[in-house]
Amino acid sequence: MSGPSETVRIGILSTAHLHAGAYAGALAGIDGAELVGVADEDAERGREFAAAHDTEYAATDELLGSVDGAVVCSTNAAHREWVERAAAAGVDVLSEKPLAPGRDDARAMVETCEDAGVGLGVAMPLRFSLPARKANEKLAEGTLGDLRAVVGTNRGQMPGGWFVDPDASGGGAAMDHTVHIVDLVHWLTDQRVAEVYAELETTFYDHPVEDVNVLSMALEDGTQFSLDGSWSRPESWDFWGDATLSLVGTDATVDVDCFDQKLKHTRDTADGGDGGESDDGDDGGDDDDAGGIRSVYWGSDPNAGLVADFVDAVREGRPPETTGAEGLEAVAVVEAVYESNDRGEPVTVEY
């Protein structure tokens, strides 16, 4: 889109997802990128966001007419509409994950962007986690021998809001916390999930979506892969959640904790109060008002790598790190998760 030396102009489409703030912060730290403005289906929310992040609130068509790339931070159900509007305007787009609540929508988005000749990426920040990249090096160096088993976790606190409204989110913990680790494993192993068995349940809260999400999967080469993506961290926990991966090979085991680089912070407040962070913490953000014990992430920010890659992709006219087609594959796994839970048996993933 832009020439090599020009500033890449980025817009944010919807701020329904908390990550919008993290992405705006990441953009502010990138030379050669500018957050031009924000559009939102909720004008008041959009205006507040614009004011908080020193940018402009704009009508969607106006914003799309003035940017090179757009980041969609809407509800899951609205990703498709926003992506299609960006594609129609010829704007490269990075969608929050999961790409869509279902395979049909995700596939349509991939095809629309292909037809429009715009790039489509999906926000998979764990590919930019330096601990995860170290594991990738160990795999490439052959340290593990033959990989035989992968054990992953991506637990979180219950996010509330539209995340627990099936019409907006498409589902609960399985929709929210399956794709990060699935995508990471797809990327690390060059193998896709072939089969899924799911144990889903609504246990921790009284809401219409599942919050227990425990999966037993097999990759195409037979490697076993289990994942716990439950919303099982208490509200008083010291951090938003986790993202871990244990890779068991015939010669070695490599354990990765993507957010292990944390300070332990204890704070007294006049009225006590509990720990925990104010948002899901991917940005390492800190709630200064909270008392008690909490963890403060100090490692490199995967979201910064994610956003920088998207900006470079727009500038260079190349695909972003995680393409829409790869995002579609993760969505296919999620669909198999729900199907397995409904049928009570393992399900072959249809890509």
Partner: protein, 314 residues
């Protein structure tokens, strides 16, 4: 395991290891352990000739049944290592033999006696996490090449990691969370290595995840971790945390010293039940119910479908 038990018995007042039976290595073992014990080439020889109050069975799993039956016939009380047997048929025969003879029989599900596991259960029992939602346990070790004649490598005899290793955590989670309605498992076996995981669906709606490995390199120590997440809280234990770390020119060693470790507490409880005549804290019934879940997991891994432990009958 025999060494570990001898060491634990030393710390229990009024207990003496007075006889050791093992086909070829009894004398060597007694010398190594510094015991004043008579040696025998077989369990039946020991049972016929030695004057013992109880026997502690640390033999390979398929031999548990004949050894326990022989002890029961002679009215000798038994501590039997886990798994109680490799099949439900053998396990039931053991239970029946002990019941018919009226002997005390305890099975070595030792996690129930490890202070950190016992304390975690107490937190849950006290309502500290509300209702359990997700229970996770992990256990990883090098391949158990220490077994005589490498018998662990013969999966027909050892049952592999699901029946021999994951059974620790399966038993513990049953003890904490309750009965299991179904399991789904996957198992990878390679030369001198094995890894498996299973999901567990408990009758109360909670979900469990256990992963167990014989895949660590030989130089590595056993690793274990536990996590119980509930509606009102979370309790976590990571076995890699140790209070003592010694760094020398040769490397780093860690230890977690306790006044009475899991094996000591386990065997002290056995001795206590012998002295008082009370039911031991882990019965054959408990061990059978746990074995049933391990066998269901093995069947699930073999057949690629969820299995209700009630399906397992043999």
């Amino acid at each position: 395991m025999a060494e570990t038990h001898v060491s634990a018995y030393r710390s229990i007042d009024g207990v003496e290891v007075s006889a050791v039976a093992s086909p070829n290595t009894a004398a060597e073992f007694v010398a190594e352990q510094g015991l004043a014990a008579d040696t025998y080439a077989s369990a039946t020889e020991l049972l016929d000739e030695a004057d013992v109050d109880a026997v502690d069975v640390c033999t390979p799993t398929p031999t548990h049944r004949p050894v326990v039956e022989a002890a029961a016939e002679r009215g000798v009380d038994v501590f039997c290592e886990k798994p109680i047997a490799g099949s439900l048929a053998d396990a039931r025969a053991i239970d029946d033999a002990a019941a018919d003879a009226g002997i005390t029989l305890m099975v070595g599900h030792v996690l129930r006696f490890f202070p950190q596991y016992e304390r975690a259960r107490a937190v849950v029992e006290d309502g500290g996490i509300g209702d359990p939602g997700v229970a996770r346990a992990q256990r990883r070790s090098p391949f158990p090449s220490w077994g005589h004649g490498n018998w662990y490598a013969d999966r027909e005899r050892s049952g592999g990691v699901l029946v021999d290793l994951a059974i620790h955590d399966i038993d513990f989670l049953r003890w904490v969370v309750g009965d299991v309605d179904r399991v789904f498992a996957r198992r990878s076996v390679w030369d001198e290595g094995e890894h498996a995981h299973l999901t567990m669906r408990f009758a109360n709606g909670a979900v469990g995840h256990v992963d167990a490995s014989w895949g660590l390199p030989e130089s590595q120590e056993l690793g274990q971790s536990l996590e119980l997440a509930g509606t009102d809280g979370l309790v976590e234990f990571d076995g890699d945390d140790a209070p003592v770390t010694t760094r020398t020119a040769e490397g780093t060693a860690v230890s977690s010293p306790v006044e009475r470790g899991g094996y000591q507490r386990e065997l002290a409880a056995f001795v206590e039940s012998l002295r008082t005549g009370s039911e031991p804290p882990v019965t054959a019934r408990d061990a059978i119910d746990t074995l049933r879940v391990s066998l269901a997991a093995s069947r699930s891994a073999a057949e690629g479908r969820p299995v209700d432990p009630a399906e397992v009958d043999a």
